[in-house]
Chain length 438, copies 2
């Protein structure tokens, strides 16, 4: 039986609060193993990568080469299903169009005192993109991570993807080609993260590493953080669907299951005012579950972390939705637009009965890398901003220094920082040794 | 003797590479102690805060109260030096004006297919600001951290500051009042971070924690990350000064020392084309050192981490500056503006002979919280963007779903995600049970 919370019940607040803090991930303690792997790659470079690839992925990269060749990529692209290529190209173009609107603009201006200030944006020079192997190897994620980097102007996008027993997903390679990835290496795990962060004979280091991965990859990203930048560490996916009784229960059930099939730790939450409608959705979930190829995963996710939350009205639902701060929020109600405007915390909002969250996973144009585990309270989905950085600019002439200098000196002295005060006063000719040469 | 690197020498590259990786911080292993403190605060709330404040800060918060009262804040403000208050107010207004320009704009549009897309920015609801005690308790940092939050529209800014032996820096309280901080608590260390992240009887939790702190505070921020957002973990401060021989060596020496006096781990680097000029600056540093109240700190920083880098010309300096990726980059050359335009990695650039970095510390208007330890290669200084988050919006009607649905279904099937495909197809009436009710 799926968890059911009813706002009208007296113990709702305590049950809801407990629900919010439910852990959906088993954290594996791999810190020590990961530290050893990183140190090996730093010390032995390519040789360490070859050894780890043989041990963990069962492939001989000494013979195959670490780099995936242009010929291999081309062959994968040519061999891929034409409909899939066309769909990837449509997705690519829509993601690129949307993300181009996110490019921040430089700002340079002179204030009333004549002080020049500015914010200048530049692209990160090189970015590494981790792509998992196995079932979590999603071509759509290659586009979602690489296209914003390309739009930002990143010059070098380096993809790493483990080739378990030698095999690479050809659709992943095709997506990388479409996205304009510059280099691809058939390595994975903590060793791939170490190679991206520190470089080896074959792989030049990058300045930032993005992309999802397993516990080893996540731990490695945390350990190399500082040496390079990293994106957020994503948790299992989640959806909150707010639906009124004018929806077809089967549609809503399909949306809940689309989330649940991702991972046993995924979470699907239905919020409804009408208990009868909620019952129909739960029944539809049960019916549809049996027909899915990933029914075992979806069934466990729904049983362990799924929930139905009954609310008296949508007004009461707003603060609850803000506390859940869902990665994906689907609003299928008659006043969906208005309700969306009143909810503050969500990674992405899908408005109306014809916007299933899945459209956002692939072809909507917005990014599918979104804050999980309630972090939409304080963070945002992946965007062009993750691939640029801002340099602030300040420029004063002698006159502006005369205007602002005294306040700076006062504050420096209040903070006990003599040399700070002198660095200003010496230019204002208050310092004995000061000689203004300009 | 300060480290000297000469571009023309054959071993320059290896010495420069080694210089870049010099560790300037001793990392203390306080992870376990911090974990215990956080767990205590989660389990016992206020009582744990009282106990830790007695033990670590020597104050009785049970009697004094955890909250700093409005009367205490007002008294500190009234008692403060009037010149200092005026300087803080000038700084506040300039910081607010500059940061208002950083507020991102919402974007909502309809594309050629009729799909509605959008990016909506909202402020984080509550933010915690850590202010260190002792000598690192800087009123200017209160403004730099709190004003952008206020500009962003954060409703609740909560400051924590340890009161060693009961004392609070009155200028810090005055700065908090000027910045519009909403609540202040006299607590510090890992226990203050835990209180902000998890809440206690007296302190409601926040969604993000910012501000500098010692090893305990940094470790606590890392441990609560995920439950709340955190800002970057700042390392010791640094400056790179590029100066030609038309500068007064005393001015440049003063700038190098302004950085060095912060911390024994701070780093001041002079880059020059003219060896004779560099010698004069080094001699001026030695002369000025003896007159500083913090000369011991500055002397150790300069001796341990200071450096003079001689380059044949400014063209050769550009890639070196990009690899250093200095927190503060001061360019005091005749073509400063042009040179600034060609350097990509720097937290902030101070252009010309009359823009000492210290102006940016206090009253320039730009933020002084900037990326340290080469992280300007991939990250930016503190801004309004750190206090807002973006929700993406997607809205399709039945017609748009017919347009985009087939590609989404193709990609979902290519990724082996049946329920994803069904969530779209059921709305396109391809699913047996599909009934379009709209």
């Amino acid at each position: 039986m799926v968890l059911r919370l009813d706002y009208r019940q007296s113990d709702f607040e305590s049950r809801f609060a407990a629900f919010l803090t439910t852990k959906r991930e088993v954290s594996e303690d791999v810190e020590t193993d990961v530290r050893v792997i990183i140190n090996e790659v730093r010390a032995r470079g390519d040789a360490a990568l070859h050894d780890f690839s043989k041990r963990f992925d069962g492939i001989d990269t000494r013979t195959l080469g670490l780099a995936v060749t242009a010929d291999e990529i081309e062959a994968a692209y040519q061999a891929a299903d034409k409909d899939v290529i066309a769909a990837l190209e449509l997705a690519h173009d829509r993601i690129a169009s949307h993300h181009r609107r996110q490019m921040p603009e430089d700002d340079r201006y002179t204030d009333a005192l004549g002080v020049e200030l500015g914010s200048r944006w530049t692209a990160i020079q090189a970015v590494g993109l981790y792509v998992p192997g196995g079932t979590a190897s999603y071509p759509s994620s290659v586009l979602m991570n690489a296209v914003p980097a390309k739009v930002a102007g990143v010059e070098r996008i380096v993809m790493v993807v483990p080739a378990r027993d030698g095999a690479l997903n050809p659709v992943v390679l095709a997506a990388a080609r479409i996205a304009g990835v510059n280099e691809i290496y058939r390595i994975g795990g903590a060793q791939a993260i170490a190679a991206l962060a520190y470089g080896t004979e074959t792989i030049r280091p990058v300045a930032k590493i993005v992309g999802p991965g397993n516990a080893w990859v996540a731990a490695a990203k945390r350990q190399v953080f500082g040496t390079v930048g990293i994106d957020m560490i994503a948790g299992p996916s989640e959806v909150l669907v707010m639906a009124d009784s004018d929806n077809d229960p089967d549609w809503i059930a399909a949306d809940l299951l689309a989330q649940a099939e991702h991972d046993v730790g995924a979470q699907s939450i239905l919020m409804a005012c009408d208990a009868g409608f909620a019952d129909s959705v739960v029944a539809a979930v049960e019916r549809q579950l049996s027909t899915l190829s990933r029914s075992e995963t979806a069934r466990r996710s729904w049983a362990d972390f799924g929930a139905v939350i009954l609310v008296p009205d949508w007004q009461a639902a707003i603060p609850l939705a803000d506390r859940i701060a869902a990665e994906h929020l689907e609003i299928a109600t008659s006043d969906a637009e208005e309700l969306a405007g009143r909810i503050r915390n969500a990674g992405a909002i899908f408005i109306g009965r014809h916007t299933p969250e899945v459209i956002g996973d692939y072809v909507g144009g917005s990014n599918h890398v979104l804050p999980t585990a309630r972090s939409a309270r304080f963070s945002s989905g992946l965007s062009v901003l993750d691939y640029v950085k801002r340099t602030s600019i300040l420029r004063l002439g002698a006159e502006q220094l005369q205007s602002l200098g005294p306040a700076a000196i006062t504050l420096a002295r209040a903070e006990g920082l003599d040399a700070h005060a002198r660095s200003v006063s010496i230019r204002m000719n208050r310092w004995d040794g000061g000689r203004d040469r300009e």
